[in-house]
Each structure stands twice: as C-alpha cells, then as structure tokens.
C-alpha cells in the first residue's frame, strides 16, 4: 500500500514539476520576445548566429535531403510502377518532401546539430560566469545572448527546410529520371501541376517556422536553465535534442490534422 502511495506521490510530483517547468519556460519565452528589440536594431547579432546555427548546418541538411530524395525516388518508383503510374513519381517525391519530410527531418537534424550547440554554448557561458559578467556590465544577457540565438533559429529553420526539400527533389530526379529512366517531362510537369502553392508549400513553410520556434525556444531555455556544472550542461544538451525531437513529431501531427483536413 505504501509502495502504491509512493508511486502516486512520485507521479504527482513529476507532473506538477513538468507543469511548473513549462510555466517557467513560457515566462522565459515572453521575456525573450520582450527583449528582442536589440536584435532588430542590431541585426548583425542575429546574422552572426544565423551563420553558426544555419549556415554551418547546411552540409548535413543538404546531404540528408539528397539521400532522402533518392530513397523516395527508389521506393516511390517501386510502388507506383505496380499501378502503372510511375510518371507521377515527381508528384510523390515533391509532396512527400514539402508537406512532411522537409520540415520534419530538417527540424530533427536542426535540433541535433544547432539546438544542441546553442544549449551547450549558453550553458557553458553560464557555468563560466560569462552571463553573470555581462549582467554586471549592465548588458542584459537575455537581449544580447538569448534573443539573437532564438531569432537565428526561427529564421534559419524554414530556409533549411526549403533547401532540404529542394535537394530532395533533385535526389528524386537523379534516381527517378537519370537512373531509372522515368520521363523527365512528366516528372516535372506533373509535379508543377499537382503541387499547390498555398495547400502544400505554404503549409510546409508554416510547419517549419513552428518547428523553428519550438527548437530555438527549447535550446535557449535549456541552456539558460542548465545547472552550471559539466554534468548539468551535458544533461541540458541531451534534453534539448530529446524534447525538441518529440515536440517536432507531436506538433507535426497537430499541424497536419489542422491543415490537411479533407483535402
């Protein structure tokens, strides 16, 4: 009986702890948004972080996009060929990428590559008293360190997702048209006819912006909240990747349910 009570007590404590932490993270996000003025007055601060979070993530995004596109080309052809509609390969590749795989896979890669780096950097700045030093110099670390990294994540993510999708379409073309021999004209023309700017591309962009906000928010919060020890920073970095990945998958389901109902 005692073990059962302990179990429920532990479960309750975990639940209230999670809600408390979510509230704290939300207040932190609001504080970051309120202190974002400096980012837009001095956009070079954000540009620098876009370089670290976005440009340096390009290789992994482009290579992954190419391979995902090539696999889609192979798998798609194999399936479509059974129904005699291999000419629709371009449509399948493009819709899979712009609606789902582009935002989701690039979001997961962005969380692992850039999100973890942001958390580790902020956590280490805290552990080595750099944030405290900044505050003692009358410079608000939220405005100077956190907000530029947050906005860099939000801006980079849709651009990376777009490049992932573009590279994926190219990968699908390489395998489908160049390797297997699907007609290039039908590959491109069917894609052009079937992919809708608002229904498909814009919704994909909205997804990637939402994922960008989620990953950037989680990354900066975990870094700022990390205990100032080696173990604390290490745990925070792991939490960023796990929480971001799960959030992306959950948000993807919610957004897909809202966007593509009955279409």
């Amino acid at each position: 009986m005692n073990a059962l009570a302990d179990f429920f007590e532990h479960l309750g404590a975990r639940a209230t702890g999670a809600v408390h932490r979510l509230g704290f993270a939300t207040r932190f996000l609001l504080l970051t948004l309120r202190n974002s003025g400096m980012c837009f007055r001095r956009f070079s601060l954000v540009m620098r972080e876009i370089y670290f979070a976005g440009v340096l993530s390009l290789i992994i995004i482009l290579v992954s996009g190419l391979f995902v596109g090539m696999v889609l080309g192979l798998q798609g052809y194999d399936t479509l060929e059974r129904y005699g509609s291999s000419s629709a390969l371009g449509v399948l590749v493009a819709l899979s990428l712009v609606r789902e795989l582009g935002p989701v896979v690039s979001g997961l890669l962005f969380a692992s590559r850039a999100g973890s780096a942001i958390t580790a950097e902020i956590g280490l700045m805290k552990a080595t008293e750099q944030l405290a030093a900044m505050e003692m110099m009358a410079v608000d670390p939220i405005a100077r360190v956190i907000a530029p990294r947050f906005w860099a994540g939000v801006i980079s993510m849709p651009l990376l997702a777009a490049m992932f999708s573009a590279m994926g379409v190219f990968g699908g073309y390489l395998v489908g048209v160049r390797l297997i021999g699907v007609d290039a004209g039908s590959f491109w023309s069917q894609m052009q006819a079937a992919v809708d700017l608002r229904e498909d591309i814009l919704n994909g962009v909205i997804k990637s912006v939402v994922f960008g906000i989620a990953v950037a928010w989680i990354a900066v919060f975990e870094g700022y909240d990390a205990p100032p020890t080696a173990e604390g920073v290490s745990r925070a970095t792991t939490r960023t990747v796990v929480t971001s990945s799960l959030s992306i998958l959950a948000l993807d389901f919610i957004l897909t349910a809202l966007m593509f109902r009955g279409t």
Partner: protein, 270 residues
C-alpha cells in the same frame, strides 16, 4: 572606520539562498571612497555573496546595501543597470567571453554603452591592454591565454569604462606567485590611476595585506574582526592569528558541521 564618505555601506545585512542555510548574518561594513578594502575569510564564508549583493544581483533578506547613498535593492531594472555602468567586477577566473578576442572583450562595454567611433574605441582598447602589458595579445582568443594573462585581460575589461567602484572576486585564485604579484600591482596601480574604490574578496592573506587600506575578516557569514593591514599583522586575536599564519587548528573549524563521528561510524556498521 568612520561611516562618513563611504561609497559602499552594508548595514546589518542578512541573506539566505534557502531556509536551511543562512549565508550572511548581520554583516555591517563600509568602504571609503578611493580606498581598497579586502574582505577575507575561508571558502564558503559568504564573501562572494556579499559582492553579489553590492552589485544588485541578489537582494538581502534583511538590512540594506547602499552604493553612493542609494539602496541597491530598491533600484528598478534601469536604475540598477545605470549603477552597474559605474561599477566593474572581475570574476574569479576572468569570465572572458570565449567567442571574442582579447581586443573585443575589452571593447565590449564601450560598444554596448557608448556611441564612440571605432577609431576612438581602438585607441582606448589599446591603452587598456597596454596598461596590463598585453597589447601584443590583442588578437588572441581567451582559450589561447594562460591563467595570469586571462586575469590581466579581465582586469583591462573591468576598467574599460573607468568605473568608480571595482570589485574583485578572488583575483589571485590559481595563479603562480609571479602572476599573483603582477595582478596585485596592477590592481593597486589601476585603482590609484582611476581614483576608484576597490573591494577585493580573497583568501590570499599575504598578497592582500600588501595592497589594501583596510581589511574585514569574515567567518560563517559574519564580520569577526577588522582593521588596517598593520593592525592585523600585530593582532594577537586567535582568529586573525590562525588566518594570517594559515594554521589548521584554531577558532575556524576545519570540519563542516556533522553528527557525532562515532555515531556515524556505528550507523554504517549496523
């Protein structure tokens, strides 16, 4: 020390991070303008917490900290930041920004708080680095510096805007004797050149007594004695004697408070 003309006044301050551990207990001290004051005591006695209270990072649970006659805890965010622009704080291991060169570290506050043209900032940064002997290291990153060099760059950064109050948190920690002497001399000469007021938190007695005008000794969150360096060297108080001569036995406990030793050992055996 008379209470007049004090830039910093700490008045019966109590502070606790949590309900179980009282860090400061009725601390009362004053720092006169233009002087260097050392706050000494064993690790964990509340010295750094006191600096954080003076800088407005923490709020006292009772009592008042005044800088320039104004209560720090009562300042709003803008006023607190305005006060900090007139303060400098050197952290224990320098706390240099690791993504910036030495030059950019020193230029940081000038770029953040002034509209000075880059040519003038360049001149000022080179002057500050020259003063600590590291003009030649301006392009190096913090990771490329030795501990002593990093501390000197941090000193140049701390004095970048010629602050009226400079606080040093363990400026000698982890330094070799030569670097310690260099940092000590720089702290004294920069304080005198700027006409600033300095508070040095340290447990390095020999180095601090050479530099400062007045010393406060802290133990377990309270000021236990105070005086000029000469008074303290001549003191026969057991506490001061133990600290100045680094003796393990004396009024300062070696052991952290614990239950009865025999009881603890028997509990494990059982």
């Amino acid at each position: 020390m008379p209470a007049t003309d004090n830039l910093v006044e700490v008045d019966d301050v109590n502070f606790a991070y949590d309900a179980t551990r009282q860090v400061l207990k009725g601390v009362k001290l004053g720092v006169r303008r233009g002087q260097m004051v050392a706050i000494m005591g064993l690790s964990g006695c509340g010295k750094t917490t006191l600096l954080r209270l003076i800088g407005g990072e923490l709020r006292p649970s009772a009592g008042e900290v005044r800088v320039g006659g104004r209560s720090v805890a009562e300042l709003n965010h803008e006023e607190r930041f305005a006060l900090r622009r007139k303060m400098g704080m050197m952290f224990q291991f320098g706390a240099l920004f690791t993504d910036m060169s030495c030059y950019d570290n020193v230029a940081f506050q000038m770029r953040e708080h002034t509209d000075l043209p880059e040519e003038l900032i360049n001149d000022l940064v080179l002057m500050k680095l020259q003063a600590v002997g590291l003009r030649g290291a301006q392009g190096l990153m913090p990771a490329e510096l030795s501990g002593g060099m990093a501390r000197r760059v941090a000193l140049a950064r701390t004095t970048a805007l010629d602050p009226m109050l400079i606080m040093y948190d363990e400026p000698f920690a982890g330094l070799d004797p030569v670097s310690m002497g260099v940092i000590g001399q720089l702290i004294r000469s920069l304080n005198d050149a700027l006409g600033a007021t300095s508070i040095i938190v340290t447990h390095d007695v020999a180095e601090a007594l050479k530099l400062v005008n007045y010393v406060y000794f802290m133990s377990e969150g309270a000021i236990v004695t105070q005086g000029t360096p000469d008074e303290l060297r001549a003191s026969d108080k057991p506490f001061v004697h133990q600290f100045v001569h680094g003796e393990t036995d004396g009024p300062m406990p070696f052991h952290y408070p614990a239950d009865d030793y025999v009881h603890d050992l028997q509990a494990v055996e059982a």
